[in-house]
């Protein structure tokens, strides 16, 4: 019916093309202003949080291990939408009011921190014990060994799974629409609410998410190549 009406009614086709064209810039603006910054900032903070959490998990200090475990368990065990709602709609009840963007950054960072910590933990554990020993025998402290020897090797291992986390995050930022961040998907909602072309606008937003993710997977490929330079080619 929908397609039929497009082909039988040239005016309808023209209207759709007009809307698609005029909504492109607002959507792009939403992506550049919010979707991409949200992703980049949250991923950077999240990665730092994840590294600390991973180190806490593999440390020999019991309380640290427990705190890290509880954090990961809570974040992984509750929906992201619920976490964002608590931060933005819940916290004002106890007197903490956050800007939509701030709440979104906090929510996404905590989320990435928990998921990526498991990736980083596994990557660190995958480095042979002999590497720690060699680092120790040349006199390195724990933090020197970690920084110079272990993490550089662990990063190579963790690029593919971390790319997964990153790409998921790009799409998850659409949930920020729910806490009033005018990112790309919320722009689409707003335009569609005005002209009722839901199918068109949501498809257009979807297409733009896809393009962003596609570009990111190209970056992943390049990163993998760069890190593979010291590995024997099979």
């Amino acid at each position: 019916m929908y397609l039929n009406s497009i082909f039988t009614n040239p005016e309808r086709l023209e209207r759709l093309l007009d809307i698609a064209q005029s909504s492109f810039l607002p959507l792009l603006e939403g992506a550049i202003q919010y979707t991409i910054p949200l992703t980049l900032i949250s991923f950077t903070i999240g990665l730092m949080l994840a590294t600390l959490t991973a180190l806490a998990r593999i440390s020999t200090i019991k309380p640290l291990q427990i705190v890290a475990r509880i954090y990961v368990s809570i974040i992984r065990g509750t929906p992201l939408l619920v976490q964002l709602s608590i931060l933005f709609y819940g916290l004002p009840t106890i007197g903490i009011t956050l800007e939509p963007f701030t709440a979104a950054i906090m929510g996404f960072s905590l989320n990435v921190g928990a998921y990526a910590s498991e990736v980083i933990r596994a990557a660190i554990l995958s480095i042979p014990k002999g590497q720690w020993e060699a680092a120790n025998t040349i006199g390195m402290s724990y933090s020197q060994a970690l920084k110079r020897i272990i993490l550089p090797q662990a990063s190579r291992v963790s690029i593919p799974p971390l790319s997964n986390t990153f790409i998921s995050l790009v799409k998850d930022t659409s949930l920020a629409s729910f806490i009033l961040v005018t990112e790309m998907f919320r722009r689409a909602q707003e335009i569609a609410a005005f002209n009722y072309e839901f199918l068109l606008l949501y498809s257009q937003a979807g297409l733009m998410y896809w393009i962003i993710c596609f570009l990111l997977s190209l970056v992943q490929g390049r990163l993998e190549n760069r890190f593979d330079r010291y590995v024997a080619k099979a």
């Binding site: 002999g130 060699a134 025998t137 390195m140 010291y230």
Partner: protein, 249 residues
Amino acid sequence: MIAINNLHKSFGDLEVLKGIDLNVEKGQAVVVIGPSGSGKTTFLRCLNILETPTAGTVAIDGQVADFSKPLSKKKIMDFRKQSAMVFQHYNLFPHMTALENVMEGPVTVQKIDRAKARAKAEDLLTKVGLKEKMNDYPFQLSGGQQQRVGIARALALEPKVMLFDEPTSALDPELVGEVLQVMKELALEGMTMVVVTHEMRFAKGVADEVLFMDGGHIIERGTPQQIFDNPQEERTKQFLNLIQKADTI
């Protein structure tokens, strides 16, 4: 140079070292032989505190580590600086070139100026015959070459004692010679060395003293001639017999 007193090490209920005493003079090359499971590798690792002994003392060049009480991290790190370790599986850093592997200790740990460290690393790699391979990553090198980088990396720290843990056991037979040659030169230059090995010819040719270990004890010790030509202990004889038999198959 090394004074070891009543050294004990247990893993849980399993006692691996049952009281080792040993003195090594400066410039001596000591070779430790013995069947697998005799505790010789554990013994060597204790000297670098890669394993923490359960009791006893080790002194290297006057610096004493007393294992009857827990040591602080700083104490362990200070003590480690006396010696350097060469591993059976080389344990080179795969993400660094040969040159970077050798520079890593001096630059990161000793905070030596990069250019100086580089010059020194180049000298050491030249010394072990790898001048042309300086910029190769470990995966591009043969086992023998990797192990020579391992030796250069250890030497870069200017240790007072070099510890070798079965340095040729993982190598193809034709690559063993090049590594032993480097070790022999080191011994001739007067480096104090403790070598755990199965290379009896190396023990005969290079060692000042040979230790035979079994069951967590030093069973017998002496010059290579004494141990190989005229062993006194039954267990030493059995071990040497088995090795000779394997050679004649």
